[in-house]
């Protein structure tokens, strides 16, 4: 079914259980789905934009209120809507990092974090993950010390992922923040898998920036996200324009420089705001998400040879499985080779696991109902039994 021209109607979520690790917590709430119907026109949020003509002052729709509430919710002083977490990274590096200056990054960071350093001609120095795929405060301290020896001064910024995209492991942000601050280095909490999914309080964590992704974890359309910070760093990173045209004398009010003025409009902004009440509530029920996740991991672990490659017991619903000794052995002789698993899942209305991969693969059960988690668990067992694997 086409929705326009050659564009298919996307009905993945209506027809399937979608396990794609990056899509799970970005699925829209009913409120956001309704809001995007009404606010899709380009500059829709500008209907009631009055002096001082800035997005975060708009009261209809309640964008101003969102800024106040979301900053408090994250335990930070100020917040800015951004078109995706990557733009928040870029805004922070743009304000704090100069040419050739070092930034500390976890070795498990998202590529856009690296690019946000590259775009300002900065230099990345990584924190080495432990063999069990964790980032520790000790390793962070070592990287900072190494950078100081190499550059002769402290790095300009530390990025830390609360939960990484590779394993869905949780990292010791609070301790890393303490280490960073011992060297007077600001720290950015990359919460793209936590903000909107589980409780996050930047003040308690002792971080200077909290970055969240609307489309990854706040049930919002893409591109959307938030950059929250302290009053101290807001003066630098969220600074307002001072530029003036040399011939015309034009000035641009209180537009924010780092994000080039009004940052997020239309459906991404209104969708994120529409989801916000439900998102604020849902973070308090992450334990229920973990229970549903356990139904699935327990079923997978009952298949002989299957392991969880992520930390275990699980603390997040994004998990990397190791099935090199189970599904991958079947793949070696199956007529569909490695595609047998995704094919068998697709037959059962399950999608989102990378086709053709049977050694290690990731999935995310966030947002599934218990009935869906049970169906998923039963499906994995059925597929194993169909392929004469030992279950028990």
């Amino acid at each position: 079914m086409k929705c326009a021209g050659q564009i298919e109607t996307r009905a993945v979520e209506e027809s399937s259980i979608n396990l794609d690790p990056i899509q799970a917590a970005g699925r829209l709430t009913p409120e956001a789905m309704k809001a995007v119907i009404a606010w899709g026109d380009g500059y829709s949020v500008c209907d009631n934009c009055h002096k001082p003509f800035r997005l975060d002052y708009v009261t209809k729709p309640p964008i101003a209120d969102f800024h106040t509430e979301a900053a408090a919710w994250l335990g930070m002083d100020q917040i800015q809507l951004v078109p995706g977490a990557r733009r928040a990274f870029q805004e922070v590096t743009g304000a704090l990092v100069g040419k050739g200056e070092p930034v500390i990054m976890t070795g498990m960071g998202h590529y856009t974090a690296y690019l946000s350093v590259e775009v300002v001609n900065g230099v990345v120095r990584e924190i080495k993950p432990t063999p069990d795929h964790h980032i520790t405060a000790d390793a962070a301290a070592e990287s900072i010390e190494n950078a100081i020896r190499e550059f002769g001064y402290a790095p300009k910024l530390v990025f830390v992922d609360a939960v990484d995209f590779m394993y869905g492991n949780m990292h010791e942000v609070e301790n890393i923040a303490k280490v960073a601050h011992q060297y007077d280095i600001p720290i950015l909490y990359n919460g793209v898998y936590t903000v909107g999914v589980l409780p996050v309080n930047g003040k308690k964590l002792g971080v200077d920036f909290v970055v969240g992704s609307g489309h990854k974890s706040m049930a919002a359309p893409a591109p959307s996200g938030v950059l929250a910070t302290t009053d101290e760093y807001a003066e630098i990173v969220l600074r307002t324009t001072k530029i003036q045209g040399n011939l015309t004398g034009r000035k641009f009010g209180i537009k924010q420089v780092g994000i080039l003025g009004c940052s997020l409009m239309g459906d991404p902004a209104v969708g994120l705001i529409a989801s916000f009440p439900r998102v604020k509530e849902r973070v308090n029920h992450f334990d229920e998400e973990l229970k549903n996740h356990k139904i699935v991991t327990d079923a997978l672990l009952s298949i002989e040879g299957t392991k969880v490659a992520s930390e275990y017991p699980r603390k997040h619903t994004l998990t990397r499985m190791d099935t090199a000794e189970s599904f991958d052995i079947v793949a070696q002789t199956h007529k569909k080779r490695g595609f047998f698993l995704s094919s068998a899942l697709n037959k059962r209305g399950i999608t989102g696991i990378m086709p053709g991969v049977t050694k290690q693969w990731k999935f995310n059960t966030y947002g599934l109902t218990t009935a869906q988690a049970e169906y998923l668990a039963d499906s994995f067992i059925e597929i194993a039994e169909e392929n004469n694997m030992v279950v028990g």
Partner: protein, 59 residues
């Protein structure tokens, strides 16, 4: 301007969205619980009402 027609269009779309949400919550089998069936029945009735309003206002 027909405010009634405008309201009916959005109400209908929002009601359809509620059914879309039920499809998502019950995918892939779409076996609805009795409560979900009852809720969907009421929603469908409401969509019919919106269609009647649109016929009355616009046709």
């Amino acid at each position: 301007m027909s405010q009634k027609a405008i309201d009916a269009v959005f109400t209908g779309l929002f009601n359809l969205t509620d059914i879309r949400v039920t499809l998502r919550e019950t995918s892939p089998l779409h076996h609805l619980t009795d409560e979900q069936k009852e809720r969907t029945k009421k929603t469908v009735e409401n969509i019919r009402k919106q269609l009647e309003i649109l016929e009355g206002e616009l046709l």
